[in-house]
């Protein structure tokens, strides 16, 4: 290990020297003739690392991958790339787009590129911006629903290696985060171009005034055709989703969360997180913004709850707008504040949730709410009640949350820079834009540790913590997570205070000189594979491969968990079958942590190989006894769970 580190150091020194030399060589000497115009899109280098902080690792193989939209360099550890399905043309800027001409013009005038048709892809992505960005995903049976700012693409994943596109559903309005429940699909819309009728035309600007006349707005901005809120589709015909309801909200829906009440078979609920400005009362009566002291009805400082009657989804409507930030003592609506972010400035009031993850099995939800992480009691789903709140000086923007399967930990993410910025550079602190793992005991959150994808990324790669899901390896808490252009990182947070990376995949930047929005929005495990929504490039599919950090037995055990539907923000309790595949995973873990002697590991494995149930049953009591003196709680849990399987294994 030390030797390795020294080698790394030498290589770094060499690279830094080479870099310095080449930069020097390329620096144009001052000359009287006007130099080529500086690339105005050149990304900014990171500011110096604050004192006492550690940055990202510039020696990691992910730090220096070759750039490209379609041909970027790739590297991975413990993950195998199965396929990439490019975005369909219906979700890409057409060549006949009126704006294309302007892109080409700016390419030639600003960047001095003579023939724009030869280099346009990255620049076109800049222009399209988020217009066609892939966003979040949902799963049902053999169908994957890939959200996009322009609609939803539905894929057939019955054979992951031969995944095919079934349906491109065009319906713009961003972000397009989808959820599915039986025959219904839900979709978030927040942007000004969203139309009730799913039209792509948006809203026309008024015609230009006659020459010499002052420009007057002939059209009102408020429009009954505009849609910002949650759409509901009937997906009984997967090739022809039909819009059945469109529930308007004051701030639109940046994200939403499907909530299923275990005690109510007839309705589901949608928690709406709006982060954008409040629309005008003329467009949606009753909407007004402002601070609570001047406007007690402000649409800020709340979430909205939609109730969806399953037999009549067209009647879905907002049933409550809980003031989840209220100070319970004073009744003030602005009852929560952020920490002083990065030690600068003052705390500011929290008026929005970005994302909420519900875990109905334990009656709780974790809200990532801009300045705070909050815990909600959701036993009455229409009336969630805040029971705890935390903030953190290293956190700039509380973005999303997930529970460990036992409900004893919560992983929050910090979307420092909003996902649009390069935030994994060697000088970016590894506790900013990171995950924060909290312990959860008696409805109280307490901080345990940070995790940030460790590899340094370039100045042109947007990178920060983003969406992930649990990988159902029994005996461990493992999450696969998207880091935008930082790629995908799989982390083990079994030890909440010391999360570690156990697998990864990364591509080089889309462009070396332009920060083009791209990378992975979400990376989720679903029934044995990892699916990742790449904002600019398409849909990636992976499988896990064994390493020292994760054995084939552990991967096989994860694959035994099969679910019929998955919406990551509606977290479901994972139940493992009581079989020998799962037992083998526990044994591998007890070997790795040296919790059992080599002899006992070997005896267990032999008995399993022979399917000697009689002998296995006899080994269970000793394991249960040893659990009482195990070195760690994780090992104790593994021993008990293993004993439980051995007593009555399903063969």
């Amino acid at each position: 290990m030390n030797q390795l580190r020294t080698n790394f150091l030498l290589i770094t020194v060499a690279i830094v020297f080479l870099f310095a030399a080449s930069t020097f060589a390329q620096t144009p000497s001052p000359s009287p003739t006007p130099a080529q115009p500086q690339n105005p899109f050149a990304p900014q280098p990171a500011p110096p690392l604050p004192a006492g902080m550690t940055g990202s690792d510039a020696n990691d193989p992910r730090a220096k991958l070759t750039p490209g939209v379609d041909n970027a360099g790739e590297t991975s550890m413990g993950m195998k790339h199965i396929t990439l399905l490019k975005k369909p043309d219906a979700f890409d800027l057409g060549t006949n787009d009126p704006n294309a001409e302007k892109v080409n013009k700016s390419l030639s005038t600003v960047l001095g590129i003579a023939d724009p048709s030869k280099v346009p892809s990255a620049m076109k992505l800049v222009l399209a911006g988020l217009g066609f960005a892939n966003s979040d995903m949902a799963f049902q049976g053999n169908h994957l629903f890939l959200g996009n700012f322009y609609g939803v693409n539905i894929y057939d994943i019955s054979n992951p290696a031969k995944t095919s596109l079934l349906t491109s559903m065009i319906c713009p309005g961003g972000q397009g985060d989808p959820s599915v429940y039986k025959n219904l699909m839900f979709m978030s819309v927040e942007m000004a171009n969203g139309r009730v009728d799913c039209g792509t035309q948006g809203f026309p600007p008024p015609p230009a005034p006659p020459a010499g006349q002052p420009n007057q707005n002939q059209l009102p901005a408020a429009s009954k055709d505009r849609f910002r809120g949650v759409r509901i589709f009937d997906i009984s015909d997967i090739k022809a989703p039909k819009q059945v309801a469109a529930v308007q909200t004051c701030r639109g829906s940046h994200t939403h969360t499907l909530v299923v009440d275990p005690n109510d078979k007839n309705n589901v609920y949608i928690y709406v997180s709006g982060t954008s400005f409040v629309r005008q009362d003329e467009e949606l009566p009753g909407c007004s913004g402002g601070t609570p002291d001047t406007n007690p009805n402000t649409a800020l400082f709340r979430i909205d709850v939609i109730k969806v009657p399953l037999a009549a989804p067209q009647d879905a409507k907002i049933v409550s707008s809980p003031r989840v930030f209220m100070d319970p003592r004073s009744g003030a609506l602005a009852g929560l504040t952020s920490a002083a972010v990065h030690g600068k400035g003052d705390p500011s009031p929290t008026d929005q949730c970005h994302d909420i993850t519900v875990y109905s099995a334990i009656g709780l939800a974790a809200g990532a709410c801009s300045g705070n992480g909050i815990l909600l009691d959701i036993k009455d789903p229409a009336n969630p009640k805040r029971i705890d709140a935390v903030n953190d000086p290293n956190y700039a923007y509380w973005h999303s949350a997930s529970f460990s399967n036992d409900g004893k930990k919560v992983v929050f993410t910090d979307e420092w820079g909003g996902g649009l910025g390069a935030r994994c550079r060697p000088n970016d602190p590894n506790v900013w834009g990171a995950d924060a793992v909290f312990n959860l005991n008696n409805n109280k959150l307490s901080f345990a540790g940070y995790y940030k994808m460790p590899a340094a990324q370039g100045d042109s790669e947007n990178c920060v913590a983003h969406n992930g899901s649990l990988i159902p390896v029994p005996g461990r808490d493992i999450e696969v997570q998207a880091w935008y252009q930082g790629g995908i990182s799989v982390m083990d947070f079994t030890d909440a205070a010391h999360p570690v990376e156990i697998a990864y995949f990364d591509r080089g930047p889309i462009d070396p000189n332009l920060l083009v929005l791209g990378g992975d929005w979400s990376a989720y495990w679903y029934n044995g594979r990892i699916y990742a929504s790449e904002i600019a490039r398409g849909l990636d599919i992976f499988e896990l491969t064994p390493t020292d950090h994760l054995t084939q037995n552990e991967i096989d055990a994860a694959k035994t968990v099969q679910v019929g539907e998955m919406n990551v923000q509606n977290q479901q309790k994972i139940e493992w079958p009581r079989n020998l595949t799962v037992a083998k995973a526990y044994i591998d873990q007890l070997e790795r942590s040296q919790a059992l002697s080599a002899d006992r590991i070997s005896a267990l494995r032999t008995a399993i190989q022979k399917k000697d149930t009689g002998n296995l049953k006899k080994m269970a009591p000793a394991l249960e006894k040893d659990a009482g003196t195990a070195k760690s709680e994780a090992d104790a849990n593994r021993m008990r769970a293993l004993a439980d399987v051995l007593k009555r294994p399903a063969l």
């Binding site: 105005p40 899109f41 900014q44 369909p88 043309d89 219906a90 979700f91 057409g94 060549t95 006949n96 787009d97 704006n99 302007k102 892109v103 700016s106 005038t109 399209a128 911006g129 988020l130 217009g131 095919s164 596109l165 079934l166 349906t167 491109s168 559903m169 065009i170 319906c171 713009p172 000004a192 171009n193 009730v196 009728d197 039209g199 792509t200 035309q201 948006g202 809203f203 026309p204 600007p205 008024p206 420009n215 707005n217 059209l219 901005a221 589709f233 090739k239 022809a240 039909k242 819009q243 059945v244 469109a246 954008s276 400005f277 005008q280 400035g345 003052d346 500011s348 008026d351 649009l420």
Partner: protein, 238 residues
């Protein structure tokens, strides 16, 4: 699948009819396995099927979008200019920190807006400011006196206000700065409201995100500055 069908076909002695039917079904299946492009209608309305040649279309851009970005660059530049006055005029640590933060974030946002405009082949300055002695390569020149311009964006400090700020020291400077920056930031909120109150404006996804961020970011800073301002009279009473 198709291999099995041919096999079945060859085995069947019943003849060509069965095989024909079989291959017809197969042809139809091939067709239905191609991806479809659909566009739902308003709730209750039918879903339309679109041709396979359909490509994406960005929402219309409005001249107001360009004006907003150009105006906000000018607006932000004054904030940078104001914060540059702090260190020589105030010892207030909290104010210095706030100033550094505003300066940094507004300078970054100016770059962002310049990129947005340049990518769309638009000038980074408003046409009316491109004449005479204000014809400068960029509007984010440090120390550039924005208040010389006759037209100010909402909330921008007038020349008289800027002069008063420049001539103030200590607590008086702190007060003028905070009042001025609250006025300045409130103007940005007006600009965002104005953008979205204009028909056809603010539909570009990146612009929408940016305007939304400006709105929430400046709202939070106004709140902070109002608190800081509220503390000063109390401190002076002691």
């Amino acid at each position: 699948m198709s291999g099995n069908r041919f096999y079945l076909c060859a085995l069947l002695a019943a003849g060509s009819l069965v095989c024909l039917v079989s291959s017809e079904v197969h042809a139809q299946q091939t067709d239905t396995s191609a991806p479809v492009i659909v566009q739902p209608g308003a709730p209750g309305q039918p879903t339309r099927t679109l041709p396979a040649s359909t490509t994406g279309q960005l929402p219309p851009s409005s001249p107001k979008d360009t004006e907003f970005m150009q105006g906000m660059i000018m607006h932000h530049a004054q904030a940078v200019e104001m914060t540059a006055l702090i260190n020589s005029r105030s010892e207030n640590k909290e104010l210095r920190l706030l100033g550094a933060r505003i300066s940094h974030s507004q300078a970054e946002e100016i770059k962002f807006m310049e990129h947005w405009l340049q990518a769309r082949g638009q000038p980074t300055t408003m046409p009316m400011h491109q004449t005479g002695d204000t014809n400068m390569p960029g509007m984010n020149m440090p120390g550039m006196d924005m208040s010389k311009h006759e037209t100010l964006m909402p909330g921008m400090l007038t020349k008289a206000q800027m002069d008063a700020l420049r001539n103030a020291k200590g607590k008086e400077f702190d007060r003028l700065f905070l009042e001025g920056m609250i006025q300045h930031h409130s103007g940005a909120l007006t600009m965002v409201k104005d953008l979205f109150d204009t028909a056809g404006a603010g539909q570009d996804a990146v612009l929408f995100n940016f305007a939304t961020d400006v709105d929430s970011g400046q709202r939070a800073e106004i709140r902070i500055m109002q608190n800081m301002l509220g503390q000063h009279p109390q401190e002076e009473k002691r």
